[in-house]
């Protein structure tokens, strides 16, 4: 069980495909418009329940409970060796081809 007062993230559909704007590209037209927002859980719930939360501005939003203590896990990605090659190009152009020797 996820306790009332927990810091959570919810997800909801705000426009179904048929409610969306006209003139959208095909790939967008066929999917719903989704919303994600974080806040404090207003009642004891289980994951994937439809719940209500209070956001940091005090708004009440409802949607599917998808995460508890949602974390920032974005990073710098897998290392790109191309970066070493850029360094070689600019340094050898500026300082001469023997810079790395």
């Amino acid at each position: 069980m996820i306790k009332k007062g927990s810091w959570v993230q919810i997800k909801k559909i705000i426009l179904n495909p048929e409610q969306r704007a006209n003139n959208l590209p095909e790939a967008t037209k066929k999917v719903p418009l989704l919303l994600w927002v974080k806040g404090t859980l207003l009642s004891d719930s289980e994951m994937n329940d439809m719940v209500e939360i209070k956001t940091v501005t005090g708004r009440i939003e409802s949607g599917e409970l998808i995460d508890v203590n949602p974390s920032y896990l974005h990073n710098y990605g897998k290392y790109m060796p191309e970066i070493q090659e850029i360094d070689r190009i600019v340094k050898s152009t500026l300082f001469g081809g023997d810079y790395y020797e």
Partner: protein, 472 residues
């Protein structure tokens, strides 16, 4: 109240009027014109007052830095005697990490003065953190509405980082999947909360950047004894270029060439759920730059104060590969590690400087902070994960959404000119669709809008059978 898409969009003007504290209809003139300078004097701020607001809130007076090694790198591939001195205005050092703090500072000041409890901005860019940071200083509540994920919930790394930054400054972040209906949710939130619309496109969003234009002229004189010859501005919605150019013109009578630069994302549809994660730049690109310069009044306010066509002297595109390359060069040659999107104008400046004399000055007017996600390493890795082919070659072979071509040698970095005459004609065409009849004031307005002449506008109007009033 009916909250269907159509009903909310129909209430747009009413919601807008309440949320910006500006009655735009006061400035409307004749058939399609409006009083631009009148709108820009909304709030009666002087440049001095804006500077004071900014200085008191962690904004402005960023250093102008000479990129000596990058300048020398240009000279390695320029003709003898060519290769202008390249300077960057290190805007990453504003509170919240970008020049957008300048734009947010005036909006948040105004929101507080008018008694609003909070501010809302629709932005996936650095502007979100800027509004959140300034709102924190004034004790205003803050909601940032972002287009962040595709329909599968996969987010653009740099936008995910921007969401984290907004939350770090205490804002609520409402994240949406791809689609222009973001504006619908934005309107609903304005209606629900009664907060101030801290739009990028109000007069406040533009006035705040005029200080940047002024500073870079004064910095240049202090460091080199001269006004800059060229200033390069990354161009998306047009506010950056507009505000910078206005600030420059308020500070010096000398001719300073204003260059706009956008990342070329030709072929990628901005509202396409599948194209969304095939791009490596979410701002500063042609997907915003071109539609907004040709039709500025497509923003989230009835009249946009960002009107780049009035000020732009030259408009160039650079490739994603060129910008990533220059971002790494800035880091490894100058010891300044910054985010890639802010370096769009640096890549353009590198190319333009090649054709300028050694004694000339070119200024790149912004940098942005870098972090996890918001880094060329992260964006390149994300591109490779999304099946984008990354290789060294000639950047002109890059196909947005399919490849990123890193220049295999420095001389291959070449900004490509967009024909401004074509842009001007498209802008006028958009205007002529709005009214078949024009007054003398309208014609003058259009000549100012396009930075052309009365004759130029009249000649174009003939192609569309426009009836001209009061004009012999």
């Amino acid at each position: 109240m009916n909250n269907s898409y159509e009903s909310v969009m129909a209430r747009k003007n009413e919601i807008m009027r309440k949320s910006v504290g500006i009655d735009f209809s006061n400035y409307e003139k004749d058939y399609l014109a409006f009083d631009y300078e009148g709108l820009l004097s909304e709030g009666n701020f002087t440049l001095e007052e804006i500077k004071e607001i900014q200085n008191n809130n962690g904004v402005g007076n960023t250093p102008l830095k000479e990129c000596k090694n990058i300048t020398n790198l240009v000279r390695k591939v320029a003709k003898p005697g060519y290769g202008a001195r390249i300077f960057i205005k290190d805007e990453a050092l504003n509170d919240s990490g970008s020049f957008k703090a300048r734009r947010a500072s005036v909006s948040c000041h105004q929101a507080k003065k008018l008694g609003f409890k909070g501010v809302i901005a629709a932005t996936s860019g650095n502007y979100g953190a800027a509004v959140a940071s300034q709102a924190a200083k004034y004790g205003l509540k803050c909601i940032i509405v972002q287009e962040c994920y595709d329909s599968k919930g996969v987010g653009q790394p740099e936008i995910i980082e921007k969401a984290r930054a907004c939350e770090a400054y205490g804002a609520e972040v409402v994240q949406l999947s791809v689609g222009p209906e973001l504006f619908y949710k934005f309107l609903l939130l304005l209606e629900e909360t009664g907060y101030f619309n801290a739009s990028l496109y109000t007069p406040y969003g533009i006035m705040g950047i005029e200080t940047l234009g002024q500073e870079l002229v004064l910095d240049s004189i202090r460091l080199t004894g001269k006004t800059p010859d060229v200033v390069v501005c990354t161009n998306a919605g047009g506010g950056n270029l507009t505000g910078t150019a206005r600030g420059i013109k308020k500070t010096t009578d000398k001719n300073v060439e204003i260059v706009g630069a956008s990342v070329n994302l030709y072929g990628l549809h901005m509202a396409d759920d599948e194209d969304f994660n095939k791009k490596s730049f979410t701002t500063g690109h042609t997907g915003f730059g071109l539609p907004f310069i040709m039709n500025p009044d497509r923003s989230d306010v009835p009249r946009s104060a960002a009107r780049p066509l009035r000020y732009i002297d030259r408009y160039v595109t650079v490739t994603q590969g060129e910008v990533f390359f220059m971002t790494e060069a800035l880091s490894v040659l100058e010891g300044i590690e910054r985010g890639p999107a802010g370096n769009t104008s640096l890549a353009a400046a590198f190319s333009i400087a090649k054709d300028m004399r050694e004694d000339q000055i070119i200024i790149v007017q912004e940098t942005e902070y870098t972090s996890a996600g918001k880094h060329h390493q992260a964006q390149l890795a994300f591109a490779r994960d999304n099946g984008i082919c990354i290789y060294f070659g000639d950047p002109k072979d890059e196909i947005p959404g399919k490849s990123i071509v890193l220049p295999k040698s420095v001389d291959l970095i070449k900004a490509v000119d967009i024909d401004l005459d074509v842009i001007r004609k498209k802008y006028l065409q958009n205007q002529f669709y709005k009214s078949k009849k024009l007054s003398k004031y309208d014609i003058e307005f259009l000549s100012l809008e396009t930075n052309t002449s009365i004759e130029y506008v009249i000649n174009e109007s003939k192609k569309y059978n426009i009836e001209l009033e009061d004009i012999r």
